[in-house]
Each structure stands twice: as structure tokens, then as C-alpha cells.
């Protein structure tokens, strides 16, 4: 069980790496994958599609299958986050997670609570984002997630990475396509979590 953020500008390779890690976590844990495919992207097209939140839950927790859902709105994301906390034993990937955090700003967000409670839910939670801005709160980063930092160009994002993780902004801004910096500040990964190593 682990949590990881994949941060970078479009086309940097973050969703590809997250999907790659999801596959390996699924092999290691023998648990189904649940994907919140916010943008219906090509890198996640191989995951069987669910038509609704209820369909996704049925596939994952009743039939033990993988499932991907493109949410209709923030309520769908919140419902799935609550389902993960209650149903447990799943590998979750949320693509463009910051979008939903912005949409849920000011609410008692289930997604945010899941980011604090993934260990209790026996879930691995992988999240991609283009923006590591204020909408991705300290709480979202507080349980020592592994960070995979691809090229970022936004001054705000570079500021935060430099301030909070000591990453050299020039190094981050000039990373080649597909290259990333892996930032680990919690316990060293072990067991199935080494799929992210």
C-alpha cells in the first residue's frame, strides 16, 4: 500500500508512468485496479470501461475486475473515493487529481480524506496532476507520498517544489520528455510497493 503523485506538464510522461506502476502494483498485490480517468486519455484506454459509479463498484468489488470511469462530475469522484475507503483492497489511479480537488474546494472532500487514510483502506493511491498549486493542499501531500516529478514550467509549481522539497527549479524545468525525479520522504518502499521503485 502506498500513495504517489505524478507531477508534470502535458506530454511529459506522468500518466504513462502512473499507469505502468498501476499494472505492476496490480500484479504484486493481486488486487483490482480502479481508474478515475478524468480526461479519457489514451494511456488508460486499455482499462475496461464502467458506465457509472455503480457499475465501477460492481466490477471492482463484486466481480474482482479492473474498471475505469470518466466521471460526469465531482460527485462521481467523491462517491468513488468513499467506495474505496469502505470497500478497500484496491489500487486506485486518479488522473488529473488536482482538477477534482479544485472542484471540491471548501467541501469535506472524500478524496482528500482518502489521501490521509489509504493505509487503513488497504489501498494504493496514485494521482497525476499538471498543477501542484494551492488546490493540492498540504493534507494531500502529508502522508509522505512518493513524488515523481517530470518537467514542470509553471513558476508556482517550481516555487513549491523548491520550497517544500528542495528541488532545483532549473533542473525540474529542463527535464527531458519521459525523465523524472523520484522524491521519497517517507519510509523506504518495501513489499508490493517496490513496484514503484
Amino acid at each position: 500500500m502506498t500513495s504517489a503523485w505524478y507531477i508534470g506538464c502535458p506530454g511529459a510522461g506522468k500518466t504513462t508512468l502512473a499507469a505502468h506502476h498501476l499494472a505492476h502494483l496490480t500484479i504484486e498485490t493481486k488486487r483490482p485496479a480502479l481508474v478515475i480517468d478524468s480526461g479519457n486519455v489514451a494511456q488508460l484506454a486499455h482499462v475496461p470501461r464502467a458506465a457509472s459509479v455503480a457499475d465501477a463498484i460492481g466490477r471492482v468489488w463484486r466481480r474482482g475486475e479492473h474498471a475505469a470511469l470518466t466521471p460526469r462530475n465531482a460527485d462521481d469522484v467523491e462517491a468513488l473515493a468513499r467506495a474505496v475507503m469502505a470497500g478497500r483492497d484496491v489500487n486506485l489511479l486518479v488522473d488529473e487529481a488536482a482538477f477534482w480537488m479544485t472542484a471540491n474546494k471548501g467541501r469535506d472532500s472524500a478524496l482528500l480524506r482518502l489521501l490521509r487514510a489509504w493505509r487503513h483502506a488497504r489501498a494504493s493511491v496514485l494521482l497525476t496532476t499538471q498543477h501542484l498549486t494551492g488546490d493540492v493542499s498540504q493534507a494531500a501531500l502529508s502522508c509522505a507520498p512518493v513524488l515523481f516529478v517530470f518537467r514542470c514550467t509553471s513558476p508556482t509549481v517550481l516555487d513549491r517544489l523548491e520550497r517544500e522539497y528542495g528541488l532545483d527549479r532549473n533542473r525540474v524545468a529542463t527535464l527531458a520528455r519521459g525523465k523524472y525525479l523520484r522524491v521519497e520522504s517517507g519510509f523506504p518502499l518495501d513489499g508490493p510497493d517496490r513496484a514503484l521503485a
Binding site: 471492482v60 469535506d108 522524491v183
Partner: protein, 192 residues
């Protein structure tokens, strides 16, 4: 000013396990992701082959469906009934008390590290001991991870790890007393 992650790394640099230290390594993403394993490789949660959740598959699905349909479920981190996962303070602490607890623990840890002459008591360490609200919230969330680590470190480096454990226990006890006193006062006010 030195980033707080580096100060943390410097403080804990001699620990045998780099728990709170930040490590940065380079890597290359694949051109395309490996496919998800076929269903045979990811057996049904409620199948006879799985042991941990054998009898829970149906109930897990029901719980997931109920949670998705209903109002927000209780936060398992701070729920009174949450399993404590080895955390001696369990889920009995409120988030606010946990923040205070970690604040005290961090202060004690830093002071102990300075007393042990691991680092000087200078502007950097003073800043570390006086964390911002957001940073304290960070530490509060990390407490369940930090406590087992500190327990382990206590045998190897009793100087600062022991002090930190003392800080945690002290803060826990203090916050419990405060909670009890607050409850008593509220009860007293209500009876008036």
C-alpha cells in the same frame, strides 16, 4: 534559507533508516505502460483463492455501494473505532490534539538533537522547532508513521528518539487531561 526537507535530512542524517529524510533519484518513464494483468492474475476479492477477504467480498461490495450512495463515511484515521495499526495513541486523538502533540514532539526532538550536539541550536533549528500551521499538520499526519520508527530508534539512539517519544507521550497525556477538563467544564456548565 535552507529548505525544511534538507534541515530534516540533516537532523536525522545519522539514523540507520532514512525515514524522514528526503531522497531524490532520477528515472525514465516507459514509452507506454505495461498492460494490466488478466483477470486470472487478479482474482476476485470474494473468490475462494483469496484468504484475507474471503468472507468479506460481498460485504466489501455492499459497503462500497453504501458508502458511494450515502453521506460521507467517518474518517477512519480519526474515528474512535479505527484500528490503531500499532499506533499507541490509536484513533482516540482529535486532529487538533494530534497537531499539538506533534508540535511538542518536534520541538522536543529538535531540542534533544541540539542537546546531543548533532546540530547547533541556530536559526534553522529554531525554525524547525517553530513550524508553521501547515507544517504541523504535515507532521500530525505523519505521526502514525513516526511513532513505530521512533520506538525502533529508541533502542539505537535513546538520546533524541527517547526524547521524542517522551514528547509524544507527554503531549498525549496533556491533551487527554485538557480534553477531560474541557468535558468536565462543559458538563458543569450544562448542569448550572
Amino acid at each position: 534559507m535552507e529548505p525544511i526537507g534538507q534541515v530534516r535530512s540533516r537532523l536525522l542524517g545519522n539514523a540507520s533508516e532514512p525515514v524522514l529524510a528526503t531522497t531524490v533519484t532520477e528515472g525514465t518513464a516507459p514509452l507506454e505502460p505495461d498492460p494490466l494483468p488478466p483477470l486470472e492474475a487478479a482474482p476476485r476479492i470474494d473468490s475462494p483463492e483469496t484468504s484475507e477477504t474471503d468472507s468479506q467480498g460481498g460485504s466489501a461490495a455492499s459497503a462500497a455501494e453504501a458508502a458511494a450512495a450515502g453521506p460521507a463515511i467517518e474518517d477512519p484515521v480519526h474515528a474512535q473505532s479505527a484500528p490503531n495499526d500499532g499506533n499507541p495513541f490509536g484513533g482516540a486523538l482529535t486532529p487538533e490534539a494530534l497537531v499539538q502533540l506533534c508540535d511538542v514532539a518536534m520541538f522536543v526532538t529538535v531540542r534533544a538533537a541540539c542537546a546531543a550536539k548533532r546540530v547547533p541550536w541556530d536559526d534553522q533549528t529554531q525554525r524547525l522547532a517553530k513550524l508553521s500551521k501547515a507544517e504541523r499538520a504535515d507532521l500530525a499526519a505523519m505521526a502514525p508513521l513516526a511513532i513505530p520508527y521512533l520506538s525502533k530508534q529508541f533502542a539505537q539512539a535513546p538520546d533524541w528518539a527517547g526524547a521524542a517519544m517522551f514528547g509524544l507521550v507527554f503531549a498525549s497525556t496533556a491533551s487527554a487531561h485538557v480534553s477531560a477538563a474541557t468535558a468536565r467544564r462543559a458538563e458543569s456548565d450544562g448542569s448550572d
